[in-house]
Amino acid sequence: MDNTVNLTPAGSSDSAPLLKRMLRMRETGLIVIILGLFVIMSFASPYFLTWANMRAMSMAFAVDGLLVIGMTILLISGGIDLSVGSVTALAMVIAGWLFLSGIDPWVASAMAIALCTAIGAFMGFFVTRVGLHHFIVSLAIMVIARGACLLFTGGRPLGLYTLPTEFKFIGQGSIGPIPIVIVIFLVFVIAFDFMLRRTTMFRKVFYTGSNEKAAAYSGIRTKKVIFLTTTLCSTLCGVAGIIYMARFGSAQPTFGLGLELTIIAAAVIGGASLNGGSGSILGAILGVILLSLVSSSLALLDVSVYWQDIIRGSILLAAVTIDHYLNKRRG
């Protein structure tokens, strides 16, 4: 094949203005905003730039980061999952309950993650085989999983005081100065970001979300793709639930109320479209970092928790509005 053919006598925009393209990217904008907040906060609060605060902040977004990875991939494939908060809590509760029944914590965790995977597969079945909408199916599962949490615990947190130290290590330990949670987070982010950009498997997720029918007419088994992305999202909820359990040393049936909205907001701020076909892991992670940074900044500044939700909601609205106009101008 002749690779030297120039299709664009008028000058290709592929190579030259790399800087320009980077400036146009949403990730760049998010990084600028995050850095800006950093600078402002380090002046506003003497406590902000301390190691303890940095560590607390990164711990806060690291586990949610796993959830936002699953959500972003699901959004790209054209789906959505409202059950992430309750399924995460369910993983915690089931693993804790099994542990208290005398099962090894690692086995209990594996079983809880397997259960979450099964829940995802169950939702995937209803979406792809029965033909219901993601929104409705996951709404039902959100309620059911929360109910199951309360059922298993009687509505009270399970104290897991006898958890072995090496298990608690995944949630509380550090390698040198770096918390294990951050290490796990980075591994997941790098792995999924790479896979999403480079593997044929995840390219099919983009095709399916961009135009499901066109994907089917390209020989892609779109139902299988949607089934898998739905399942993956719930599996990651399971993993996140276990890490939270190790970190808290307890299983809380009411954990993650409203978490799904934060996760979806982060993915959307990071560039995922509710119509499917677009989104990036890096963007979504930056979205989660931004929201988390705003929360902890407001807490440091002693702003009432009630204001926090109002401000976070406004950020979401502002982000999608700006994006909408930028897209319009580009198109």
Binding site: N3, L7, D14, A216
Partner: protein, 504 residues
């Protein structure tokens, strides 16, 4: 009527970023005329119409309506000024009755607070009596596409407009429906309504319009009375060069080598006992009325839809296909008639579109996509098909219709196919790209790729194909070759047994 200009546009320009969509356009519309607008896709026709309808604002230039300079800031304002626009895309509420859909536009301009349902309904029925026998109480979603198009036109007619813009209204209509529409257009013109009529079909322009304006590259090239200009002059003005030969050379010597052999293909409801063969080097056409089962048959062969029984032999091998993926891996692919709906991924980059059918081809052993290979493949196929694009990482939506179709075609070629089913390969494609696609079809056939073309345009089938199969009500009703390939023969085979007795 000579000097009765209702709409005058002078020195109007409009840019989208660096792209100059309209450059110093001058245009005049007279009262009561049917004024055709011709031009390739991307010539600026739609942009100009969107300016007239207030959807887009011009960068500079002047619009004078009935002697008064106007600034049309929105489609609502255009309606108030008496400008009606029937878009090519259908924008109706599917779950609402035909009559209510028509009311929707009308109530929008009504000045009174209370709706006069009785009058609106009467008007709607009146309009429909001229158009067709659609029952106004039927829900829109139960209508065929062509009837939905008629509802769109009816909607515009109820607005008592002075200027009516019709953007390719006949694309989805049958010949008979189109003739009815032309009758209505003439009646409206006689009542003093000015009609701007956009069409790719020159025959329609020359049979039904008073004047024709040709656009090219955002510029107004010429306006002439239809009686004073030849169709070939219009085509030349559109493409800016002389198109010497509309269709490529036909096959020289027929070959005996059979590529495709279909035996007794049957599907539950849509087709029965379909048998035919395709020889090497030949282009086989498939004709038939809309709904006769043409697309369904080829989709059945590829296992894209339907539960099909019967045998399909490809190059002497009996195929056992479970799904379309199997069909692709045997080198048998289908180019959809619905380019924007299923042919391409509009939001995704060109290169990613081209590799969609065979990602393994641009990936390494462990399933990682090599972007260099992907770009190279897109570049090579784009070059072969003379694809005109900025960057291969631009989304397909940035291309013109003809170039989008080339992307869809490149996607087919990326799997080195042995057989391609083309469903309406030139629908919505401009004249220049059309003849390029015809040339590509012939080249592929000569290279030994099996080519089957479905088309509703009989001149295209006759011009391009070596043999044409005719489908009627899910069966092959006959085939024509050589001198027998005439529109009359094909239409006869396609419609003679038609239950309604309506020979189109």
């Amino acid at each position: 009527m000579q000097d009765d200009v209702i709409l005058r546009i002078s020195n109007l320009s409009k840019s989208f970023g660096p792209v100059k969509a309209l450059r110093g356009i001058d245009f005049e519309l007279r009262k009561g005329e049917i004024h055709a607008i011709a031009g390739e896709n991307g010539a600026g026709k739609s942009t100009l119409m969107n300016v007239i309808d207030g959807i887009l604002q011009p960068d500079n230039g002047e619009i004078v309506l009935d002697g008064d300079p106007v600034k049309i800031s929105s489609p609502t304002m255009a309606q108030q000024l008496g400008i009606g626009f029937v878009h090519q895309e259908i924008a109706l509420c599917p779950d609402v009755s035909v009559a209510e859909n028509i009311f929707m536009a009308k109530t929008n301009v009504s000045r009174s607070w209370l709706m006069d349902y009785r009058k609106l309904e009467r008007d709607a029925v009146d309009v429909f009596r001229q158009l067709s026998d659609i029952d106004p109480s039927v829900l829109v979603k139960h209508l065929s596409i062509s009837n939905q198009q008629l509802v769109e036109i009816a909607k515009a007619l109820t607005l008592e407009c002075r200027i009516l813009i019709l953007d390719e209204p006949t694309a989805a209509l049958t010949e008979a429906e189109a003739q009815t529409l032309f009758g209505i257009m003439r009646k409206l013109a006689d009542q003093g309504i000015s009609i701007i009529y956009i069409s790719h079909r020159l025959v329609e322009i020359f049979d039904n319009c008073d004047r024709v304006s040709v656009f090219r590259d955002g510029q107004h090239i010429v306006t002439q009375n239809v009686a004073e200009i030849q169709p070939s002059d219009v085509v030349n003005a559109m493409v800016g060069r002389v198109l010497d030969n509309l269709y490529p050379q036909k096959q020289e010597a027929p070959s005996d080598e059979v590529i495709l052999d279909v035996r007794n293909l049957t599907e539950a409801t849509r087709f029965r006992d379909v048998s035919f063969t395709l020889n090497k080097g030949e282009i086989l056409g498939v004709a038939g009325l809309i709904g006769a089962g043409r697309s369904e048959i080829v989709k059945g062969i590829c296992q894209l839809e339907g539960d099909v029984t019967g045998e399909v032999w490809l190059n002497g091998e009996k195929l056992k296909l479970r799904n379309y993926q199997d069909s692709i891996s045997h080198g048998m692919v289908y180019l959809s008639e619905d380019r924007k709906g299923v042919g391409v991924f509009l939001d995704l980059p060109i290169a990613a579109n081209i590799s969609a059918l065979n990602l393994e081809h641009v990936a390494n052993g462990i399933g990682l996509i090599q972007s260099g290979t992907e770009e190279a493949q897109a570049k090579a196929l784009g070059h072969k098909l003379n694809l005109k694009c900025g960057s291969l990482s631009d989304p397909v939506s940035s291309l013109s219709g003809g170039n989008q179709q080339k992307v869809a075609l490149a996607k087919m070629l990326s799997v080195n196919p042995r057989l391609i089913f083309f469903d309406e390969p030139t629908r919505g494609v401009d004249v220049g790209a059309k003849s390029e696609i015809h040339r590509i079809l012939r080249e592929l056939a000569t290279e030994g790729v099996g080519i089957v073309v479905i088309s509703s345009e009989l001149p295209e089938l006759i011009g391009v194909c070596d043999r044409v199969l005719v489908v009627r009500e899910g069966r092959i009703s006959g085939q024509v070759t050589g001198d027998e390939m005439t529109e009359v023969n094909i239409m006869h085979l396609a419609s003679v047994m038609d239950a309604q007795g309506s020979v189109a």
